[in-house]
Symmetry: C2
Subunit: 141 residues, 2 copies
């Protein structure tokens, strides 16, 4: 994935966030490490560029990015949080054999869901968004 630093800086500006080297390098890492990295994956990756970045800083920055809608958390049944740089609505393929989580986009499916819930309201609940967790196995696994 081609990641332009200038784009990243812009995103921070638009949200009124200060542009710090730590923030830039962390968001860049999430974009480059496609497959839903953990905080630890990110730390390992950026140590090369920013050897002195503090662990606490990474967690703090990740929180800030989530709060400002620049990244999302990915839910798993493990006790390590994973992050997603793609904020447009999409679904996830979870592998039963390994820790791989792949993105799955399907407009037809989204239309189907949209229609279904347009007609069928859920009593006492207002839907904000829907993410499918599709569990299965990749051929390669």
């Amino acid at each position: 994935m081609k990641v332009l630093i200038e784009d990243i800086r812009n995103k921070f500006s638009l949200k009124g966030l200060k542009i710090t080297p730590q923030r830039v390098v962390i968001l860049e890492a999430i974009y480059k490490l496609n497959n839903h990295p953990t905080a630890d994956n990110i730390i390992e990756y950026i140590r090369e560029l920013q050897p002195n970045i503090a662990t606490g800083t990474v967690y703090k920055v990740l929180d800030t990015l989530v709060e400002n809608g620049l990244i999302k958390k990915v839910t798993t049944d493990k006790d390590v949080m994973r992050y997603d740089g793609i904020i447009e609505n999409h679904h996830h393929l979870y592998c039963s054999e390994c820790d791989l989580i792949e993105d799955y986009k399907d407009e037809e499916l989204d239309k189907l869901l949209h229609n279904h819930f347009k007609n069928k309201k859920i009593e006492g609940f207002k839907i904000e968004d829907i993410v499918l967790q599709i569990r299965g196995t990749f051929n390669k696994c």
Copy 2:
């Protein structure tokens, strides 16, 4: 929810698991504490009946129950695991305002999904099951 101890003992027998008071009381707790309890919720609940149960035992038993398909893990974006005593396929309503997670069953939806993915295969991936994470807010929250 009415929970019969005899049913619980049967479930263990069917899986070839030894019937211990700890296992019985933990599975019973999960059935009674409807809303997807954490390990801590369970410990707190069962301390009344089994004051000496060890924390490690609870986690061990929960693992065993999951491995044997008697309960499921519920994924969240928090770092505490939650458990679900309902093993039949169903979906979840996640509240944005609080920690409430409610079950959502919808056969019509399941048929829709089944049809959709019968026609539209995902390249290189074999689907085992699909859970919808429906995020939104409950009126009461």
